[in-house]
């Protein structure tokens, strides 16, 4: 697996982007990494996969520092970047060239995913495809590698409406106890039904990292006509339907996790949330 401990990193000499980020994962979850523009989500993913090196602290992949980039490490992780590079190859040629790097690559799954994305009859060169089409080929490939850790940066960007639904269906069938998926996204509405663990990075720190059931045990996502009187209210938002509120879950009532409300509540209550989710 992968873990970050007390990672410090900055692009400019005297300006740290991360000031001690610690991030551990539980296997078999579908993590959503949320953060504002420029919070460093993509940078964090690059550090995890050994594409950037921490200035202090440690990033580990399969028990070794990520920067070592050994075969064993690289076989076990796939990082699908937001800006994808595709070589001048046809789909079949791409598969033949890149699949051998992944011992658990499934050619059947790759064909199946391409079919579901309606990309199975595309005979031309991938680099001539539209952005969305390229993305679908690369998502199909990433999933077919069957790596224990799959990292995707904004995977739904550029996908058309039916493809987003196909993506969710494929992801639902893909998830199992052995596989951990980590998705960095702003499109929380595209993925909220799949995400079952949330990580929020803000101001150089991980302010929340917890499974969804732990979050809904501690927080109540409520809609009501008036502001709550009892317990602590972390965030409110007035809408025509009523007042959306994120509050302390004093009576352990089950409520539906709303990622947008959670995000707004978290960035406004960094300290309280860090303590609440220790």
């Amino acid at each position: 697996m992968i873990q970050l401990d007390n990672v410090q990193f900055g692009y400019a000499k005297n300006q740290l982007l991360f000031n001690g980020v610690t991030w551990h994962f539980e296997q078999g979850h579908f993590y959503g990494l949320l953060g504002r523009n420029g919070a460093g989500k993509t940078t964090l993913l690059k550090i995890m996969t050994g594409l950037l090196f921490p200035q202090n602290g440690e990033a580990k992949l399969e028990g070794m520092p990520s920067y070592k980039r050994t075969t064993k490490q690289l076989q076990n992780v796939y990082f699908l970047q937001e800006e994808i590079y595709v070589p001048h190859l046809k789909i079949k040629e791409f598969e033949d060239a890149y699949a051998p790097f992944y011992p658990d690559f499934s050619h059947e799954q790759f064909s199946e995913y391409l079919r579901e994305f309606e990309m199975d009859n595309m005979l031309g060169f991938i680099d001539k495809f539209s952005h969305g089409q390229k993305k679908k080929v690369m998502i199909a490939f990433a999933l077919a590698t069957n790596v224990p850790l799959l990292i995707m940066d904004e995977p739904t960007n550029g996908l058309d409406i039916p493809s987003k639904s196909t993506f969710r269906k494929i992801m639902a069938s893909y998830a199992d106890e052995q596989k951990t998926v980590l998705i960095s996204t702003h499109q929380v509405r595209d993925l909220h039904s799949l995400i079952d663990a949330v990580s929020i990075i803000d101001n150089g720190r991980m302010i929340l990292n917890a499974p969804a059931d732990v979050i809904t045990d501690k927080l109540l996502f409520d809609i009501d006509n008036e502001k709550a009187q009892d317990g602590k209210v972390f965030y409110t938002e007035e809408t025509p339907r009523g007042i959306y509120q994120v509050k302390e879950n004093l009576n352990h009532v089950d409520s539906a996790l709303d990622l947008e409300l959670l995000f707004n509540a978290a960035v406004q209550n960094k300290k309280e949330f860090t303590e609440l989710f220790q």
Binding site: K169, A172, S173, D176, D222, D254, S255, A256, L257
Partner: protein, 115 residues
């Protein structure tokens, strides 16, 4: 305490299963749809469906047969009716009565409608 929380996905799936059984679409003794099938159909995390199924199992509506899957219990429909009745009386009726009061609707008007 008046909680009108939005319903969780796993509860929504649970209620969907109630409907399948009450309508007869899922028959007693039959195998329920697999966790994966439902997860794909609803585009949700399989862990969420698993949570619904575990809850349904605790309510003795379905039974897990190891390695084969979940099966609908013989008395599932009766169990669901009892649960739904309790929910209806404890949650929906008080809400209904509150709205009646708010709108000044009398019991006589409602009884007349029910006839």
């Amino acid at each position: 305490m008046d909680f009108k929380s939005t319903q969780t996905i796993y509860r929504q799936i649970e209620h969907w299963v109630y409907e399948q059984i009450l309508s007869g679409a899922w028959q007693p003794g039959e195998r329920a749809k697999s966790v994966r099938e439902l997860a794909v159909a609803f585009e949700v995390n399989p862990n969420t469906v698993m949570r619904s199924y575990e809850h349904l199992q605790n309510q003795e509506i379905i039974t897990n047969k190891r390695g084969i899957g979940f099966f609908i219990n013989e008395d599932a429909a009766d169990k669901i009716r009892a649960l739904r009745k309790k929910e209806f009386l404890e949650e929906e009726v008080p809400e209904f009565l509150k709205n009646m009061k708010l709108l000044g609707i009398t019991m006589e008007e409602v009884v007349a409608m029910a006839k």
